[in-house]
Symmetry: C2
Subunit: 335 residues, 2 copies
């Protein structure tokens, strides 16, 4: 049985294992610093499909198949798929998994989806409801631009705080037993809205949520920043990461050299023209499922707090003058 | 510990309790046959807000507060909120719960959201990760029309198989202990796509998923239709309900007089001009949280299989000529 700790943290008993992970990305991500960790790089932005949306589904599905292959499990071993994406009505995930003969739970956490899926799947495995689960998330630069901003053909100029939606998908196979790093503790996040209205500054909208969840996790568990090898946020980018440090400093929490942000390590911010860094559900999903799992396999890290962050906006609500709520869920991964 | 049964069913051990439920609806629903069961009827389609989307969030939030009041619990007792809706990027739920100081898990299951939230929350409580949870879902006729079909001002004609999106929200407080009907068994559903392309015929798109989940539940548990007082689908409407019966008949499963559909009982199909019946996440959520819980309180039913059904489409994918995947999750509720 899991145990609740403090106001919002859960200590898992059976400690589900990450059996494998896979990540497939687009060309720009393949040209970035993490290139050698990805399972495949898709040069064609349509991925052989007719639309960007279908391409995103295809990449997500192929990533799931790759992760399954690497886990040594068959699709009949998997009890449940937990997935989601940024598109309207989460269609990238729905269409990716419609031909898979496995029960499916659709999630919406915007760019926090990967940690939301890991959190829920871990709790389901811990409680005995599920033996093996797939956790996956995706995004696509072209489908996201069309959905949230302008048609690509319009060629609109980007603001300095904007981020670049990652084309890619990450998937992890989580199981009740096996070899791999374990998920030991969960801190699900609250929706935090500090009044940011600029939909080109997602980092600012999400960093208060990351702050709230990290702070709650430390308070609930009695741990300090020194207890982690890495504190990995999803896609705050450079602006949001600076905000997160500032907010934590005000609570006397110094991230020191422990903080990394998936949005800042997937691209070369100096050379690749991506504004403040990468974003999108696929960003943290693919970094965790490839580069980070590799660090665990190499023994380079042993305890990582993974906090994917999401901006829960829609173009409709922004056009109505609304502010942008953020959310962040923390998952503790240990060797 | 929960136990897995057959290919996709989970038998819960601790059997979470439905402590209370609440439902708030719009005027048309308030004029329907279930009128006296609702906690409130909002005559103003803006619910005092400036936009339909904000109105939906308001109704959802007020429903949550009402359910909480009726449960005798305080908001600090609640460990997690599980909610979702039909709008782009699920903003009705995100904005409804942004001021609530409780961790939040966003779901997307289209109109299957209420059973998805009950399924996940039950498993989390069963496993000890959560003591008390809120399960809630909403929809709004005006926000859904704008999102999925035409501007209301356009006054487009409706096809015979179309359904009427319910304005309303339902919320349930689920707990590890207390008085009320219990959730004893879960059958999460697969995504099923039988090639339906008509986005004005959601019943046809969803009924194969309802068929698949009901059939799996019966096979996994060894139960027959006679073992239930009611088999309650979400919003198949009259067309989808007929299809469901036909599909089950081909597998030699006769629903007899046990089947009800929330979309068919929330409105008077003869008099209210709602096509094949009600639809939307709010439809099954509000019927379950009010009328059905009342039947349990009266002792009129003792074992109900609740199967909310969702059509996982988006206008974008339909415009691209895609078919409509469906999903249905089953939750067994027992007195």
């Amino acid at each position: 049985m899991a145990k609740r700790l403090g106001s919002q943290t859960i200590i898992l008993d059976k400690q589900p294992v990450i059996l494998s992970g896979a990540g497939i990305v687009g060309k720009k991500e393949g040209d970035g610093p993490l290139s050698r960790y990805f399972d495949d790089v898709v040069d064609d932005e349509y991925a052989g499909e007719k639309t960007f949306e279908a391409a995103e589904s295809r990449i997500l599905r192929d990533t799931f198949i790759k992760a399954l292959e690497k886990s040594g499990k068959s699709s009949t071993d998997i009890n449940i798929i937990l997935s989601g994406d940024l598109l309207n009505q989460c269609t990238a995930a729905s269409y990716a998994f419609r031909d898979v003969d496995t029960p499916y739970l659709g999630l919406f956490g915007a760019c926090s989806t990967m940690s939301e899926s890991l959190a829920i799947a871990s709790m389901l495995i811990d409680g005995g409801s599920v033996d093996y689960a797939v956790c996956a998330a995706s995004s696509h630069f072209c489908s996201a631009e069309r959905q949230f901003r302008y048609p690509l053909e319009f060629g609109s100029q980007r603001t300095p705080t904007s981020q670049w939606t990652v084309t890619g998908a990450g998937a992890v196979i989580l199981g009740k037993e096996g070899q791999g790093p374990k998920i030991t503790c969960i801190t699900p996040g609250k929706i935090i809205d500090e009044g940011i209205k600029d939909s080109n500054n997602m980092g600012a909208a999400m960093s208060p949520a990351a702050y709230d969840t990290i702070r709650s996790h430390l308070i609930d568990t009695g741990r300090s920043v020194d207890d982690f090898d890495m504190i990995l946020t999803g896609d705050l980018g450079s602006f949001g990461s600076t905000m997160l440090r500032d907010l934590l400093n005000r609570s006397n929490i110094d991230l020191k050299n422990k903080h990394k942000d998936c949005g800042m390590i997937i691209f070369d911010l100096e050379k690749q023209g991506v504004g403040c860094g990468g974003s999108g559900c696929g960003c943290s999903a693919v970094v965790l499922s490839t580069y980070i799992l590799n660090l665990f396999m190499q023994g380079a890290i042993k305890r990582l707090l993974f906090i994917a962050t999401g901006a829960l906006l829609s173009p409709t609500r922004i056009q109505q003058g609304e502010t942008i709520p953020g959310i962040a869920h923390a998952v503790l991964i240990e060797a």
